[in-house]
Structure formats: C-alpha cells, structure tokens
Assembly symmetry: C2
Homo-oligomer: 388 residues x 2
C-alpha cells in the first residue's frame, strides 16, 4: 500500500424525506443563497418545491440560477459568478446531478477571485478560498456531492477540463434515493457506467508489484452492488433499496475511499471521454462505456493480471490462463454495458472513424495538461480505433 | 437501506515516515500541547523521539501526560483534565493506541466543563465543546483515531462506559504501519479480533427484511483482508503491506463506513466484554474473542440467515441448509481466534463459572445505560454460560 492522505469532511444526510433539512443545513453557512439547478426537471419532480419551502422556512434569501445543462459550460458558470458577486451571496446550493454541482463549485471558486476562473482549470492559479457549497443530489453518478473535483467545458476549443480543491468540496449533501424513481432508463444506465469506471481506473492502477487486497475487495464489492442494483432498477425504477444501494455506492466509488493507498491514479478513460462529450455533447456515461473496453484492450498485455482478477472476482470467469480470463472479462464488461442499454462503440453514437484524428488531438491536449506522458497522440489514436 | 447521517472529518495521513508531520498538523490548532501516552513503549520504539522533534521544530510547548494503561481509568483521565486546565493547553495530542486516544478524548471534553466528566458517560450531560484532539496511532484496533467514541473505566463500581461526540473526534491522525512491526503477537491478534467484532456487530444487525448488499460486501471484503493480513503478520511481524492493510482496515471497520445505512447498531458483544475487562482487566480483544462465539450461539435461531451468509462468503462453507452453515461459521470464527492465539473461553483467562452472576450484574447495568432492553440479566447469564 502506498502512502496517502484521506480527508473527506462532507456531511452526508441520506434517506427518503431528508430534503426538508436543506434549509437548516444551508443556514449554517450564510443568509443569502445562490440556488443553482438545471433545465427544470426538479420542478416536475417536486424537489424544487421541497427545497424552496425549506429555505424559506429558515428565512434564507434565494437568488435563482437555473439553466445548467449536461456537460456544463464555462460561459454559463461565468454568468453565475457575475450574479453571485453582484448579489453578494454567501453560500452556493446545487440541486441536481454532477453537472449542476460542478457548476456550483466553479462559481464558488470564481466568486472569490478577480481573475478568469479558467486559470484554475489550466493550473495557472490555485484555489485558495471559495464560498461554501451545499447540495441536494438528484442524479447519482459523479460523486461530486462528496468530492473535491469539478469538470466544466470551455466551449471555445472544446476543452473539458477539471479542478480539484477541498475549498469547493460540499460541506453538506442530501441524498434522497426516492428522487431517482423518475430518472430515465438511459441515465440510470449511464450512472452505473460512470461509477464503475471511476473505480476501475483506480483498480487497474494497482499492480502485482504493489498489492492492495483491501481496496480490491472494496471495489469488487461495490461493483457487484452497482451491477445488481442497476439490473433491478431497469426492471423496477421505483425500487427504493436498489436506488439507495446504487446512490450510496456511486458516492463511495469516487469519494477517495477506493483509491486511498493506490498511489497517483491516472484517469485515461475519463481523459479520452472528455473529448467525446466536449466535441459531440454526448452523455458522459455513454462515452465512458465506449472508451473503457477499447482502453482495456489496448492495455491487455501490461495489465493482464489485473484484468484477470476482475474477470474472476466480479464475473466469476473460470479460465485458468490470465490472458484468457482478462479477454473474457473485457467482453463481459462490454456485454453488460450493452445489456443495460448503453452504446459501446463510436459508430453507435454516430461518430465516424474519420473523426478519430480530431478526437485524438483534443484528448492529447488534455493529456498534456494532466501530465499523462504515456498518452501520445498515437497512443490515443490506437485506443480510439479499438472503440470504432 | 435505512436513513443515516455520515460525517467523518478526520484527516488521515497514512504511510511510513509520516510521523514527522505531526508538528505542522498540531500547530494548526494551538501552541501549547498536552502529550498523552502510555507506559513508555513509544520511547523504546523511537516514536516518542520522532514526535517530540517534530513538535519542537514547530516551536510548540509540550506538557507531558504519560501513564495511560490498557483499559484506561477515569481517575487518570481526571488527573489529565486537571493538568490541562492548570497549564492552559490548547490541543491534546494522543500518541498510542485506543486507550491513549480515549483518555485524550476524555480530557479534551473534560477541560471545557466544570462538572464531573463522568456525567457525559452516564448521559447526564451532553458534550458541547472540546479541545481539538490529534493522534499518532501505535496500536491498530479501536478505530478511535477516526471516530467520535471513547471508552473509559470508572474504577469505583467497575464501570467501563463510553462517550460519543464529533467534538472529541480527532482532527488529524497519523498512521505509520511500520510502528506496528514491534507490536507483540498477542496484541496483533487482539487487534484483529477487535476490528472484526466491530464490523460483525453491525453486519449481524442487518436482516433479510432490510438487506444492504453494499455494506455486506464491504464488511466481507474487510474481514477477509484482516484475516489474511493477520496470518501474514504472525509469521512476518515486519511485513509492511500486511501491517498497512491491517491498519487501514481496522480504521475503516469502525469509522462509521460499514454501519452507514444499517440503522441503529447495538453492540451487545462489546457491552458484555466491557464487564470482563472492567472486572478482570483482561485485554479487550481477548474478551471479545470469548464473548462473540457465545453470543452468536445464543442468537442462532433469530439470526440464522445472517450467520449463514457470513459462513459462506467469508469462510467458503458449502452447507446447503442455513442452520448448518451458520453453526459451521460460528465454529470457524472460534477456531480462527484460537489459531491466531486468542483465548475463546472464560476458563482460558481463569474466570470461573461461579463468577458469571457477578459479570452479568455488571453487564446488565451497562445494558440499562445503553438502553439495550433485550439484554436482561437472565439473557446475559445465558450468553456467558455459552462462553464458559
């Protein structure tokens, strides 16, 4: 096990009927609230009403900032920063999924500085302070509700980049699994893909040279939980226990727990996917389901043992030879992504083979920002060809 | 899954060579430090020197308070409170295992009030504030380094009772697995028993009526990790990876992670064990290894399904009938505790059968304080008879 620092101060309030506590929790951090949300689905689901009534009950002043879309964009976050500055808000409340929370985090960091908030994304500046962020989660996948990261796309240049700082990590997040009852089939599936990919990037990072049976066991357990819960959810969207297991598992999948002790974890699958959603605005989970199997195939010979372990522990594959087990495992992941209704090839989302060079250019730029030296343009191209 | 609140703000700094950071971390909370430790083993192991030199490097003023023994006592903690008040310390640093950390937590809470600190243990008063606590862990088992609880024995009446408050939870804990290289065989085994019992009390609390596959998977994974690591440690006490896996697993075993979503978890095994260590001053882990199998036998008919699941998932028992699997599982736990060198019967620690009534009286008093109504004196007596 490698040395690590684990620090995760987010207070999680989990369970049906807990949204009514948001007023009390938010009031601990200030009087004037920027309420960030998306395209209005929270109004249909009733979450908006629950939030507003709790905020008003605690006499909070609410400035609304709706309009976040999936694959959230910098220009919108910058409008939010302007409004937050002008209105003098003291706390940022995100009500939504990862896109909404990431926009809220970006606003929280941007309000406290005079320079361009994008400087944080390209490591030109460090986040030194931020407004407190609190959240009510309505789409489970990103774990943004309990981590320090945010991802936003700068439209100019199609750059989908990220920031990470404890200052922007939510102080409090409320997770009510029953709000997921109305989440559609596609997003329910993409949530599972996203959570699984978050864990596997760490899991594959591990090696026989530096074994971490503890983290392996947690990841395998959570992955089986997510797969089982997702299969139930697709049959019974309002199964509370399945939604609850999925919701908490997705949070634990990327809140630092599964990677503590695994060393520096590279996220090459996320890196290449960012180019897909930045260039084509496809759902992040769909993009991951396309890239992950291709990336695994490209790494087959250097990560045979890890892929074989996953195949045996999660899919019960019996093959004796590691390479055989590893290959079978890759196929099973791909099949399972298909089974739950996700695309697994570029052509299924109408991205033609001749676009690969453009995508590789975009991903290579991020590889340089993230310092992933193993990912040359050629290496990325090769991976994308395995996803065609 | 049941509703829950999860909040665990402790910053963990994990790895070989990390103790040198204690000065910097402690300095964030104050200038004058009460250094709490035990019987001096930290002087032989070199940990004391590492801590002092880091504290002095950061120009901290150190007031030493040694002398904590296992099964720490109230009178000693009260001396610590007096010294801390007189010296005006601003932060309490525990360097040791659970006993030292629990004493430090009790001092931290006691310094801020004028009444008897015992009032917190009998729920006469609530903890409203405490000095900040930081720790350097030298015996892994209690998870006190990352939780809100403390256990202390009031000698008069042999009352081993506990407190729980976020105010006393460590702000920072440093875990260096290499300090465990010199931990003796007996304590290495008791650490495993303690960590396993912490998890199983929650795991058995779960039910077929309210399944939590997510938590089940985490507990089973951690339990297998702890068992495997302990077997390695007993052969090779200086195996870094085994010590590291054990150390982090023991922390996760009782930091709130494994019980989040399991509802109110009763700790009947800990409750009865507290009477053993309060009355006979035996090692807590040894007492747990004696009580757990007896308690399981007493619960066989109401928890058959849970015991059977453990037997199959952790011990690979194939028996088809649940009751058969459950019984085999209980035997396997007992055998494993014996294998690693722990006593598993009262007579092995020279507690005669005729003392059972006295022990039951003591445990029943705690059952009333903890509100465990199912545990009448008769029920406790029956369990103890199964441990004779």
């Amino acid at each position: 096990m490698q040395s690590f620092i684990f620090e995760n101060p987010t207070k999680i309030i989990f369970g049906q009927g807990q949204i009514k506590r948001i007023g009390q929790e938010t009031a601990r951090f200030g009087k004037k609230v920027l309420l960030v949300y998306g395209q209005g689905s929270i109004k249909n689901s009733g979450v908006y009403d629950q939030v507003i009534s709790s905020l008003l009950e605690h006499e909070l002043l609410v400035v609304e900032f709706p309009g976040v879309r999936s694959n959230p964009v910098l220009s919108h976050a910058m409008q939010g920063i302007e409004i937050a500055k002008r209105e003098g808000v003291e706390v940022v409340l995100a009500v939504g999924g990862g896109s909404v929370i990431d926009t809220a985090k970006t606003i929280a960091a941007g309000v406290r500085v005079d320079h361009d908030v994008w400087d944080f994304f390209i490591f030109k500046k460090n986040i030194q302070a931020a407004l407190p962020v609190v959240t009510v989660l309505t789409i489970s996948a990103s774990a943004s509700e309990m981590n320090a990261a945010a991802v936003v796309t700068r439209e100019e240049g199609h750059q989908k980049y990220s920031i990470r700082s404890l200052h922007i990590q939510p102080k409090v997040s409320i997770l009510d699994p029953s709000v997921l009852f109305t989440l559609d089939r596609a997003y329910s599936a993409y949530s599972a893909v996203d959570a699984i990919t978050h864990m596997l990037e760490g899991y594959f990072n591990n090696s026989e040279m530096n074994p971490s049976p503890l983290q392996d066991g947690i990841v395998e357990g959570l992955m089986k939980t997510i797969m089982g819960a997702t299969e139930t959810i697709l049959q019974h969207p309002d199964d509370y226990d399945a939604r609850a297991n999925m919701m908490w598992a997705a949070t634990l999948a990327f809140n630092g727990l599964t990677t503590a002790g695994m060393g520096q974890v590279a996220l090459p699958v996320h890196m290449i996917e960012h180019s897909l959603s930045a260039l084509y605005d496809i759902a992040h989970g769909a993009g991951l389901a396309i890239i992950l199997p291709g990336w695994m195939k490209s790494q087959l010979h250097c990560k045979t043992g890890r892929f074989a372990r996953l195949a045996r522990e999660v899919f019960g594959i019996k093959a004796e030879k590691d390479e055989e087990a590893a290959l079978a495992g890759i196929e099973r992941i791909k099949e399972w992504f298909s089974l739950i209704g996700s695309p697994v090839l570029l052509k299924e989302v109408q991205i033609p083979g001749q676009d690969i060079e453009k995508i590789a250019d975009n991903a290579f730029a991020l590889a340089q920002v993230w310092g992933l030296r193993a990912y040359s343009k050629e290496a990325i191209t090769e991976i994308l060809e395995l996803c065609a």
